[in-house]
Symmetry: C2
Subunit: 158 residues, 2 copies
DNA sequence: TATTAGTTTAGTAAATTACTCGGTTAAAAG
DNA sequence: CTTTTAACCGAGTAATTTACTAAACTAATA
């Protein structure tokens, strides 16, 4: 899981799309003005977002972008993953140049943590970010994904 | 909260320090060999870690680095923060060039999320990463920081 | 005194980020 | 049918960050 300014731009643009989506599609030119992100950079980001089905496009006058799915079915991790090239964190993959096993241990610990962050962001939807009333429910969902006895906890909470 | 390869290197090196710390200090040369990170790069990273008190150094032969605090009192967020220059995520800070308030809204939403990630990584100690038996307890602590009724949940769990 | 290993600074190659520019294509409006 | 709009596409590039090399110096040990 990589979390850079590039991902922030993508999430910000998607949030802008959710907040300003009324009747028709939203043009990148509008998002560019509102969020102060270069139009061409937005085009690059949305090209990747479109390929992942997170947005769909409408050409011509009055055209622009709409969400590919409902805002409560699009998760932050998807957006970040879409714009970031996935780089393998470990330089020793499985067998090979692992001397002593300790290299693998630290790498394994890191990837474990990285997966936890990913599952956390994978449980937060665009809509829940906008709608703060959903906040606690989303945290419960995040908890459920991060702990083994998550279901138990949630059932205790009703 | 920025999560780049630089932070990963720092956390990996700190994990190496915890795992291999027996009697005396650990030299960066050893970490460099084990984790395949350039010595000079480690020196730069540990310079920052030292300034934050996360490690302390011993010079001369047999010297090296030890943890500045106990491993269960050093948190991942501290390590990541130490090596990353903190960049302000919002281009409009407070007053100024906020046109319409919507720019601020999306920025606010992002910083909210960013803080959640930060508090999540701020609840995971180095030791808990190593010692998987602490895993569930740490998740509970993380939950407590992320939800308003966290204390309530923890008390329910005993 | 020689060696070890941290400390510091300057410089740099590589990668990534963010952007400019120039075009094309599809669809709507006139 | 022509013009306009805005998505689409690719090459190129400045700025920044990452990761590293090199060279010196300092403290502590053997």
């Amino acid at each position: 899981m990589r979390l850079t300014t590039k991902g922030r731009y993508a999430v910000t643009a998607m949030l802008d799309l959710v907040i300003n989506s009324g009747s028709g599609p939203i043009s990148l030119a509008d998002i560019s003005k509102r969020q102060e992100i270069s139009l061409s950079y937005l085009e690059q980001l949305f090209s990747k977002l479109r390929k992942q089905g997170l947005v769909s496009s409408v050409r011509g006058p009055g055209g622009g972008y709409t969400l590919g799915r409902e805002s409560n079915d699009i998760y932050i991790a998807e957006i970040v993953d879409a714009v970031n090239e996935s780089i393998d964190a470990t330089n020793c993959r499985g067998a090979g140049n692992c001397h002593g096993g300790e290299v693998c241990l630290t790498h394994h610990l890191w990837t474990d943590l990285s997966e936890q962050i990913h599952s956390f962001l994978g449980s937060i939807s665009l809509q829940s970010l906008v709608d703060k009333r959903d906040h606690e429910a989303e945290v419960k969902k995040a908890m459920g994904q991060m702990t083994d006895n998550g279901e138990q906890i949630i059932s205790m909470l009703g």
